[in-house]
């Protein structure tokens, strides 16, 4: 092909340029600088609000002066002690965290592994979904916690937790995938079909990229429900380890600082997992987020 050459020869004579000069957004130090600056500012403000909240808490705790309203410093002390010496049963804090996160990942993984293919299948074959709606949809409204009695009867060990977390993660992922498939634009399929692409190729190259943002969104919602479910499930008993279990143990002893440590850890871990998924979304979907600007 000598198209490029021909083009160059004729360009001068034509004197018409269609190409606007490309914006140098990605290289522009000023733009990048302002981006970094806005990030720094966000972090600074978050730290500031954290400090303000802690100060208010400290003041209120001093006023209340009660063992049931521990001050932030007490909480910190309890945390350090848990970290160094483990809990009253001798289990370290890491054992609890690991147990909970492991359960979460197994159940959540199952939820995604089943939710995505089933969502794709029922989204692509709408009739399948339409004729099974009455069976599938009611399950969505049974809170995972309501399954706990049955889970205790039918499962034990990791299976019990995995089952409950699976219930929490499955529906958000499944529903998001199902809805996402409906968003695939016919024109995008046509682009591939006209060059001779088959069904499977279109599934991989059109349906999947279109649905992926919805899947990730569903995963974030599912992660939230799943994480809340695991803690609730651990509260109901079973094995001696897990953040929820640790919390119950201390609440029975009326040791509020350790209870609050567990609460904060649960919140913080959920937050970190959510941020990790958000980061994955940003990296995967640069075509949606205008990160280059």
């Amino acid at each position: 092909m000598q198209l490029r050459q021909a083009m160059k020869e004729e360009d001068g004579e034509r004197g018409v340029t269609t190409g606007v000069t490309p914006p140098a957004a990605e290289q522009d130090p000023a733009v990048r600088g302002s981006k970094v600056w806005s990030k720094v500012r966000a972090v600074a403000f978050n730290l500031l609000s954290l400090i303000v909240v802690l100060l208010i808490w400290e003041v209120m705790a001093e006023r209340a002066n009660s063992p049931y309203f521990p001050a932030p410093l007490h909480i910190l002390a309890a945390f350090v002690q848990l970290l160094q010496q483990g809990d009253i049963l001798g289990n370290s804090l890491w054992t609890h965290i690991n147990a909970s996160v492991y359960r979460l990942l197994v159940g959540f993984g199952l939820g995604v592994a089943l939710g995505v293919p089933l969502g794709l299948l029922m989204g692509l074959y709408k009739n399948l979904y339409v004729s099974m709606r009455a069976v599938i949809e009611p399950f969505r409204f049974i809170p995972p916690i309501a399954w706990i009695p049955l889970a205790i009867i039918f499962f034990s060990g990791i299976g019990r937790y995995a089952f409950l977390i699976f219930l929490g993660a499955f529906f958000p992922v499944f529903t998001a995938t199902l809805v996402g498939v409906g968003r695939v634009e016919p024109i995008h399929r046509k682009v591939f079909q006209v060059y001779g692409a088959g069904k499977f190729y279109i599934l991989r190259r059109v349906v999947f990229p279109t649905v992926l943002p919805d899947i990730l969104g569903g995963m974030r919602v599912g992660l939230g429900t799943a994480w809340m479910t695991i803690v609730a499930a651990e509260l109901t008993g079973g094995e001696p380890i897990g953040l929820g279990r640790m919390m119950v143990n201390y609440s029975e002893l009326l040791r509020i600082p350790e209870v609050v440590v567990a609460m904060i850890l649960i919140g913080a871990i959920g937050f970190i997992l959510n941020e990790a998924l958000l980061l994955a979304e940003k990296i995967l979907f640069r075509w949606r987020w205008q990160v280059s600007l």
């Binding site: 092909m1 000598q2 198209l3 490029r4 021909a6 083009m7 160059k8 034509r14 018409v16 340029t17 269609t18 190409g19 000069t21 490309p22 024109i187 995008h188 046509k190 682009v191 591939f192 079909q193 006209v194 060059y195 001779g196 692409a197 088959g198 190729y201 059109v206 990229p209 279109t210 979907f285 640069r286 075509w287 949606r288 205008q290 280059s292 600007l293």
Partner: protein, 265 residues
């Protein structure tokens, strides 16, 4: 090898959408390497015709044959510049242009060479890594045009491809398409509202009537190339087509004039 008069595409079809008839006995042939332009009132079924020609849609009656075989995008080398925006938002400009080559599983060295060449032709150099949401509508349309010519298709279908481009860009793209076509001949079916464009580009212009579409006229454009839109022969052909079209729009006052004499309110 002279295949100038050999028939490539045989169209013999009528089409209904439900009970609504869009095409009534649309019957014509396209010769190998012919540049055929199709004009007709808005909504008369031009896009429908290209959908049927490409094999993306089956007509309710009749069929389209390519070299004697029923049209099938998996067997024949076809490409399509769609009327609506058709860039894929999750792919960069470069990858969007490469789509056809990827589907056809061309070796990656070839893909790189062809895409890099065609990017210059459509004037998108420097935008390879941009995503569609970062470029203008006209640039997206040029991505679609580049994609259609990247695969070296034997049959290129173009549905009002230059509508979203400004006049100079439009003229440049017209010459560019003629250039690509004269360098490597292929069959092109080009739908346009613009009669000047049709007469400038086409070896032949087919004019459709509306509701249902029938072939109103089939006009050979025997002007030598490059053509001069200001020459008397060109003007004569152009006004002949315009007369045919405006006749259609006065007959059916629901369709709007294609000559540009009457504007939208």
């Amino acid at each position: 090898m002279d295949r100038g008069n050999q028939i490539m595409v045989q169209v013999r079809e009528s089409h209904h959408y439900g009970t609504f008839q869009v095409h009534d006995r649309i019957e014509f042939d396209v010769r190998v390497n012919e540049f055929l332009c199709v004009c007709g009132p808005s909504g008369c079924g031009k896009t429908t015709l290209l959908d049927i020609l490409s094999g993306l849609m089956r007509p309710t009656q009749g069929q389209v044959l390519i070299h004697g075989d029923p049209v099938n995008p998996k067997k024949q080398n076809i490409s399509f510049v769609f009327q609506e925006p058709s860039t894929l938002p999750w792919l960069t400009v470069w990858e969007n242009i490469a789509v056809g080559l990827r589907v056809k599983k061309r070796p990656s060295a070839e893909v790189r060479r062809v895409v890099d060449d065609i990017i210059d032709v459509v004037g998108l150099r420097g935008f390879e890594k941009h995503y569609p949401h970062q470029i203008s509508g006209g640039m997206k349309q040029r991505v679609a045009i580049a994609r259609a010519f990247a695969t070296d298709a034997d049959l290129v279908l173009m549905d009002e491809p230059f509508v979203s481009l400004d006049q100079p860009t439009r003229e440049r793209m017209q010459r560019e398409v003629l250039d690509i076509w004269s360098r490597r001949k292929r069959t092109i079916v080009f739908v346009t509202h613009n009669l000047e464009e049709a007469v400038f580009l086409g070896d032949r212009v087919v004019i459709l009537s509306a509701k249902p579409a029938r072939i109103r006229a089939d006009i050979d454009i025997d002007l030598s190339r490059p053509r001069d839109p200001l020459s008397p022969e060109f003007m004569a052909l152009r006004s002949r087509c315009a007369a045919l079209l405006s006749e259609l729009s006065t007959q059916k006052d629901t369709t709007r004039s294609e000559t540009g004499t009457r504007r939208a309110h």
